[in-house]
Symmetry: C2
Subunit: 177 residues, 2 copies
Amino acid sequence: MSHRGAINEESIQVLDHPMGQADGVDFEIIELLFFAYRDFISDPDAILDTSGFGRAHHRVVHFVNREPGLTVAALLDTLKITKQSLARVLKQLIDSGYIVQIAGPEDRRQRRLFPTVRGRDLALALARPQSCRIANAMEGLNESGRAAVKTFLSGMINSANRSGAADQSDAKEGQDR
Amino acid sequence: MSHRGAINEESIQVLDHPMGQADGVDFEIIELLFFAYRDFISDPDAILDTSGFGRAHHRVVHFVNREPGLTVAALLDTLKITKQSLARVLKQLIDSGYIVQIAGPEDRRQRRLFPTVRGRDLALALARPQSCRIANAMEGLNESGRAAVKTFLSGMINSANRSGAADQSDAKEGQDR
DNA sequence: AATTTATGTCAACATAGCTGACATATTCGA
DNA sequence: TCGAATATGTCAGCTATGTTGACATAAATT
């Protein structure tokens, strides 16, 4: 099967050289991100296996604890999932006493979400191992290195997201999604 | 509803203050990672929607292209999924002409996986927008900043993984997983 | 009063994980 | 040489989490 570039079997062109930097793509960071996130998420996953919840519950508990009183609409916007997807896990979290809903004081159509003590405890328990992993990974870095990491991660995020400022791109559409 | 710490409704303790740094956890980076990865993965997702494949196919095509000739076992180890999960997507990729299997030259039980030109093209098309996003996020950083990002991401990965060195922890067990 | 908004809910479906069980071909060790 | 171990494939069924579409209700808005 020859020297380099291609083998031939049943008239299909088969490549035997690795895709790499020569292709003008930064595969190193792509893979680092893949593995880093996979392992980063595995910490809380292990805890969740015990409690009968999943990643979807994790996200909900996290953001409700980070911003008590947020509305269902705000949560949907943060998670970028449909209300039907959210409904399933949210219902379980409410039924199990991790989160409560309280009608909005101004707009009583809203269901503002608050964590219970139980919900707070869960959110913290899930966050702790992740925080440790991060602290560990930051260990060798000085202040400017740590700042670089934050700058990088922030730069990876679609600017339309994060930090308030609802984008008005779909003010109509009844945003059922 | 009071000053600070807790509301009370139906005798459940409800918290209305945000979970934050006071809890001794680095929520900032936790969330940056969440959003960064979500958006990072959305680029190839958009392309995949067109082609009828999903994230699972993406990963397989990626690693086969990065290491042509890898065995099914090696791929399973990288992806950390079961062979049954892999089988589904791998079969589709083979049937569609993106990947071919060739019996191992030494050990003929092995099915070594190689990309076709078509598979290479797909892998590159998927990697390109991610690489651009990364380049963009790295834009403002100097060399030491970029190095810090790599150090950080590497530090996030379980040392047991990556870079050869099979861990011998489960040499028995028939590793069906 | 009519419409819009915020939310909930039912039903059906897709993707991508999982477990368990079993089949086949090949290699390896006694 | 034969039996065990290995590499892989495959069938069947389950779970988690996403999707669409349709419709219901209460409250706010015009």
